[in-house]
């Protein structure tokens, strides 16, 4: 059924097309939620919110429960969240995923006008964080959070991200340190060049001034040696101790040779030294490193289950329910979970019934019915009325969380790979060493007094600066291109691993299928008015299928509902006008012949006559089939769901693909590692917590999501769901990045060859060094940047 929406009227608040339009101050609103937000804002004279951006609002999907944030008032939790805390002053930093526009910034920074207890609020747009200063005597932390939620900016609170928050704010981060080093190197490079000008121009003149200039150069080079280039020296030393050669080894050797030789020249009065080349080299290297270090600040790539789980739950203590941090839950505790809340630990249901949505945890797409006595697993989301649970296992021992005890989560992933640049560096280093020894041999026989000068010159120019710039600029540019097209990678090294990928493994629920956009089809006949009535009825029910049906129907104008009754596990009935409606299971509506049980089916009967049924199926993302067909290599699909979708998946994946169902998180991880043992480089695409192990184990783990604001498991990259059909293009592009890197290697080797030929013959003057070095660096940067952008535009156009 094609949902028809009236696009004439747009909600003044959120810009969604209006259905049940309600009007307020001559402005249309799509729902009560949006109208309420507008009322709050207009009552506080905050309507400027709507002037900075059109329809800036966020549709409130669920009503705000005033008590939902009460747990924030518990001292233990407060303590963890607040970055500053005193009697009259508190500071908290909230991650607010819904921040998206100028109006958001404006409203959040004017929160103080909503409540006088809020002293100041400041938004960091890039990180989607809001730092709020408030007066705890006037407003509680819970109230701050619920106030934000009431205007559509609900903070996402987990223990995980606030711990990280505190860490990054207190130390001088690696990012900043790099910039500080870059600044020093740039400063010294510029000044050293100025003082080298007389040398460049070959000016004759006062020798004492030349001497002063030389010593100033020495002074300016010392900070570069002891501060700016330490990363290279340390890394080279480490890899040298491990008897391995990475790219930093020849760089460090070159740097030390440059500095030592130059210092000797100045001390002995032999010449002006190569300090301009030395500082310039470090400067260019750091620029490359900085260029490569592009990060997506608002995205998190390292989340584990802790960020998905709630911070606190209601625990039964004596006669009272009190919020408690989930880590303090012990076996036997009684806890209460409300609608849409997540179960923090494996438990049994003591009282109540409802549905448990495990789609994110197991991949099972259909919610499971639970009732007193059922065992529920951590990570499930409750749909329905509140239930009471008894905790059976502590958080870390749960069925799901035990996945994180796997060894794969303990070792750093980077160490498992040897980068292409380091392989090249190894060969390069041996060649240079060979040349140096041969040259030494020749000059020892020809003119022994020149020996050391020549050998140091060889080592100096052999410093693979241009080579070291190839990968940062190729991958850095590639990273930006990917980001522009909806694939956000954790860092540039991932591209290299992506290029090697030759097997794809997909998760089903949420990856191949849309997570929250099922297809509803109706078989039978109903008039628009009847459909409208059914929509109204379904919207009263909290049953997941009802919600889906009411969202899928667009007919409006339902009659007055009387005698509404919801019979658990059977369906809903009510009277509208003169007709009695029944919507629900086959038995409930009096259907004898069951049509199809591969999908969820909801029957409709009006006045005891069966009129047809709704079928609810998860929908497969569009255009996936061509992409899978284009991909030549093993493909597999792992699903935590049952086999009901096998035929549909088979037609999507073709006959060669491996399709495995009923896979638990450990199975998925093992499948990947078996594939790797057979020599494959695997890319895993998943979205849920159940894929975490597989994502981590895979050579490249990509999380697929439709909204980058929501939780994604720990991964190497985040891909927008709608861009999944381009996956093969992304992989091909990363393969061409490798080609570009290799051609740039050739280019930079040529420069090195020219420089070395100057060096071995003893003609390497500081001037030649000062010309060759920047020239080679700049041409490599230009070459890689231009070719990456060209190739990307070829692959990713359309």
């Amino acid at each position: 059924m094609q949902p028809e929406v009236d696009i004439d009227v747009q909600c003044y608040h959120c810009g969604q097309p209006c259905e049940d339009t309600t009007w307020q101050d001559d402005k249309p609103f799509c729902c009560v939620g949006c109208k309420t937000v507008y009322e709050i804002l207009s009552a506080n004279d905050l309507c400027d919110y709507y002037t900075y951006q059109q329809n800036p609002g966020i549709q409130l999907t669920k009503s705000i429960d005033e008590s939902a944030y009460d747990y924030l008032n518990e001292p233990a939790i407060r303590q963890k969240l607040l970055t500053f805390n005193s009697e009259t002053f508190g500071r908290v930093s909230f991650y607010v995923p819904t921040i998206h526009c100028v109006s958001c910034i404006w409203l959040l920074e004017n929160l103080k006008r909503l409540d006088s207890g809020i002293l100041k609020s400041e938004v960091n747009f890039a990180r989607k964080h809001a730092v709020i200063d408030f007066n705890p005597e006037k407003i509680s932390l819970a109230r701050v959070a619920s106030l934000m939620a009431s205007v559509g900016y609900a903070p996402a609170i987990t223990l995980d991200n606030d711990e990280k928050e505190k860490n990054t704010s207190s130390v001088f981060s690696a990012d900043k340190q790099l910039i500080a080093r870059l600044a020093i190197a740039g400063f010294c490079f510029g000044n050293v060049m100025l003082f080298s000008f007389p040398e460049y121009l070959g000016l004759e003149g006062d020798d004492s001034i030349k001497k002063i200039f030389s010593w100033l150069n020495v002074l300016l080079s010392i900070p570069v040696l002891v501060y700016a280039d330490t990363d290279y020296l340390v890394s080279a030393w480490k890899s040298f101790k491990q008897r391995q050669i990475n790219i930093d080894v020849p760089i460090a050797v070159g740097l030390i040779a440059l500095f030592g030789r130059s210092l000797w020249e100045i001390v002995s009065g032999y010449g002006p030294g190569y300090f301009d080349s030395f500082t310039g080299l470090v400067f260019f290297l750091l620029v490359g490193r900085w260029f490569q270090s592009k990060t997506y600040q608002s995205l998190a790539f390292d989340r584990d289950f802790k960020s998905y789980f709630p911070l606190a739950v209601q625990r039964h203590e004596g006669t009272d329910w009190k919020p408690v941090v989930i880590y303090e839950l012990r076996k036997g505790d009684e806890i209460k979970i409300r609608n849409m809340e997540i179960v923090p630990a494996d438990s049994t249901v003591l009282a109540g019934e409802g549905f448990m949505d495990y789609s994110f945890v197991t991949g099972e797409s259909k919610p499971v019915k639970i009732s007193t006595g059922s065992y529920v697993y951590a990570g499930g989301r409750l749909i329905g009325l509140p239930v009471t649970l008894r905790v059976e296992k502590e958080i870390s021992q749960s069925h799901l969380t035990s996945l994180w005890n796997n060894a794969i989560f303990k070792k750093p992933q980077e160490s498992r790979y040897r980068k292409i640049i380091d392989k090249a560096a190894q060969r390069f280093t041996w060649i240079v060493l060979g040349i140096a020894i041969l040259t030494a041999g020749y000059w020892y026989l020809a003119d022994a007094s020149q020996l050391w000068l020549i050998v140091t010159a060889v080592l100096m120019v052999a410093c693979p600066c241009a080579l070291a710039l190839t990968t940062p600029f190729t991958y850095g540019n590639m990273l930006r291109q990917f980001g522009r097209h909806g694939l956000y990678l954790k860092n540039a090294d991932i591209i290299e691993r992506m290029a090697a990928v030759d097997a794809l493994v997909f998760d089903k629920t949420g990856t191949i299928t849309h997570g929250r956009k099922p297809v509803v089809s109706f078989t039978g006949s109903l008039s628009p008015v009847e459909l409208a009535n059914i929509r109204r009825l379904c919207s009263f029910s909290t049953h997941p299928l009802s919600t889906i049906i009411s969202q899928a129907l667009s007919q409006r104008g339902a009659g007055h509902v009387r005698d509404y009754k919801e019979i658990p596990a059977r369906g809903i009935e009510a009277r509208i006008g003169d007709d009695s409606y029944r919507v629900g299971s086959a038995g409930f509506t009096g259907v004898e012949h069951v049509a199809d049980d591969s999908a969820a089916v909801v029957y409709v009967a009006i006045n005891s006559a069966v009129r047809g049924y709704f079928q609810v199926k998860t929908s497969v993302r569009e255009n996936l089939q061509p992409m899978i067909a284009r991909w030549n290599g093993p493909v597999a699909m792992l699903s935590g769901d049952n086999e009901s979708d096998r035929d549909r998946m088979r037609s999507l994946f073709g006959n060669d693909a491996q399709l495995l169902f009923n896979q638990n998180p450990h199975d998925k991880l093992n499948f990947i590692s078996e594939l790797q043992q057979s020599g494959k480089k695997v890319m895993m695409l998943g979205d849920g917590l159940n894929d975490s192990g597989a994502l981590k184990q895979a050579d490249v783990g990509i999380a697929v999501t439709d909204d980058t604001g929501v939780f994604t498991p720990s991964c190497d990259g985040i891909l927008q769901g709608e861009k999944l059909p381009r996956l093969d293009q992304f992989i091909n592009l990363s393969k061409s990045a490798t080609t570009i890197v290799k051609s740039a290697f050739v280019l930079s080797f040529l420069y090195n060859a020219v420089a070395i030929s100057f060096a071995v013959t003893g003609h390497l003057t500081p001037l030649i060094a000062a010309i060759l070095m920047p020239l080679s660096s700049i041409s490599v940067v230009l070459f890689t940047t231009l070719s990456v952008n060209f190739v990307a535009s070829q692959y990713l156009k359309k």
Binding site: D45, Y52, I105, E109, F172, I179, A183, N191, L216
Partner: protein
């Protein structure tokens, strides 16, 4: 030619001062968020009264 030494001392000193200022600005977090402040400075001061009543009607309240 002595003067050139004085000039160099002055120029290097100035350069070092700027380097120090850059350092300080970075350390104090001025580059942490380069987008929000650019938007923030364009926000109007809160208006005291409802639309329609134009200027001439007092300044801000708080």
């Amino acid at each position: 030619m002595k003067i050139i030494i004085l000039l160099i001392v002055i120029s290097v000193t100035i350069a070092v001062v700027f380097l120090a200022i850059f350092y300080w600005s970075m350390k104090s977090g001025q580059y942490d968020d380069t987008y929000t402040p650019s938007v923030r400075m364009l926000f109007d001061e809160p208006k005291p009264s409802v639309e329609g009543e134009q200027k001439g009607n007092v300044k801000k309240t708080a």
